[in-house]
Amino acid sequence: MSFDPVPFRVSFLLGIWVTAILLVLCFPLAWIFAKSKGRWVPWVESLTTLPLVLSPTVLGFYLLLLLSPRGAVGKFFLDVLHIRLAFSFAGIVIAGCLASLPFMLSALRTGILGVPGALLDASYTLGKGRLETIVRIVIPNMKSGIVAGIVNTFAHTLGEFGVVLMIGGSIPGVTKVVSIAVYERVESLNFENAHVYAAILVVLSYGGVFLLNALQRRETRR
């Protein structure tokens, strides 16, 4: 079997979707976690960290039941929105978002906490509203946090395996991501192909981690 670049395309698309969705979704969440002193915060925050330590098979098991056309969420999407979640790209995007949630959230939270409170107070004192302060003061001052969140989430999604294996169904061009392609090549004793996929993944992941480290180094030097 010759080299097939399609699984890479699927993985990249998955990475882009998951990263974009999480970036938008996590910002308000991270803001609340960073700023709110509510007693419920630690409870919710622990819940959002759970995918970091939970076995992907547990996540995959619940998602399979939930996203199936016979499950609550899957049935709603199929009947009302006419989108099939089980064994579909939309399904693995949802799974990827859940699995990568802690990576984006913690990076953004750290970023928000890193913005000096004095800057915010100054902005508020000068009569700027919350939204304008966030857009013009907070975001420009937490760029490294945002980049860290993006790189971390994207890299992690690229390596996503367990959940996708359980709910993806390995459909070529749709849900067969590159980590599954490696797994299938190894299982069918096609090591040459597995080597190519694996080597590319190593290089890409190394690049991501290197970028993250460089970013952190710059941060601490400042």
């Binding site: 399979l64 039941l65 996203l67 199936s68 056309p69 016979r70 899957g74 099939r84 089980a86 064994f87 294996l165 169904g169 390995s170 459909i171 067969k176 797994y183 299938e184 190894v186 299982e187 069918s188 004793l189 096609n190």
Partner: protein, 253 residues
């Protein structure tokens, strides 16, 4: 006291590496998982001193593990080509022997018109159907062959969901897909009992559409001398084992 803290775990660790004389560890194709309890019951009734321990996976996955040093005594594949590769790699003691012939069925949990045969997969009522990866799972290979020979493969391919083993195909069929190709033995598992109504929830795929699923086993070189291993290899070809396989829908060459 403190010595015991070191010695006891060390002893346990050492013991766990000793070869267990009375045990035979078997790497078995996933379609065997339904039969395995009955198989080991029968085995242990004949040889009360021995125990059979099963590990399940797609045949290709297990063959890969064995070639890379997984310490199994016997490999029960769902075909003859994966064990043949182990024979050629010099990992086995003796040739591949066929212990049963598998039967492929199409299973559904929905109300489908199964009288159409495989063509039912082209119906709009079937949005997705599951099959196991033909590269690693012999039942998946047989199903793909049947679809190709029936001239349906290209038409139904967009609805195909690929499972990593025939048991995952069963799991997909029971949870989310509208139909799926599984082994006939699956009908005898507890979860599927409710759907064991031929032509309502399943039908046997016409055997002339696919090459016979001859399921072969090999004895691995490392385990060949253990008495339990020898006993199990002999048992697999015995009348008693055949009776168990026959009760689970398997045929014989």
């Amino acid at each position: 006291m403190r010595k015991a803290l070191v010695v006891v775990p060390a002893l346990v660790l050492c013991l766990s590496f000793l070869p267990a004389q009375g045990r035979v560890s078997i790497a078995a194709a996933s379609n065997i998982s339904a039969v395995a309890p009955a198989l080991s019951d029968s085995f242990e009734r004949i040889y009360p001193a021995f125990r059979a321990e099963f590990t399940f996976g797609a045949s290709g996955a297990l063959a890969t593990q064995i070639i890379n040093g997984a310490p199994f005594d016997i490999f029960m594949s769902a075909d003859t080509s994966f064990p043949q590769r182990l024979v050629e790699a010099g990992e086995t003691e003796g040739p591949v022997r066929v212990y049963a012939v598998g039967e492929l069925i199409l299973l559904t949990t929905q109300k489908l018109d199964l009288s159409k045969g495989l063509a039912v997969l082209a119906d709009p009522a079937v949005a997705q159907f599951a099959n196991s990866n033909p590269e690693t799972a012999p039942y998946g290979r047989a199903a793909q062959e049947a679809l190709q020979n029936a001239g349906l493969f290209d038409r139904v391919k967009p609805k195909l969901v690929v499972a990593q083993s025939v048991t995952q195909a069963l799991q997909f069929t029971l949870t989310s897909a509208d139909a799926g190709f599984v082994s006939k033995s699956a009908l005898y598992s507890r979860e599927v009992k409710a759907y064991d109504r031929e032509w309502e929830y399943w039908f046997a795929v016409d055997p002339s559409l696919y090459s016979p699923i001859n399921q072969g086993f090999v004895v691995m070189r490392g385990g060949a001398t253990g008495p339990a291993v020898v006993a199990f290899a002999r048992f697999l070809l015995s009348r008693e084992a055949r009776a168990v396989f026959a009760a689970f829908g398997y045929g014989f060459p």
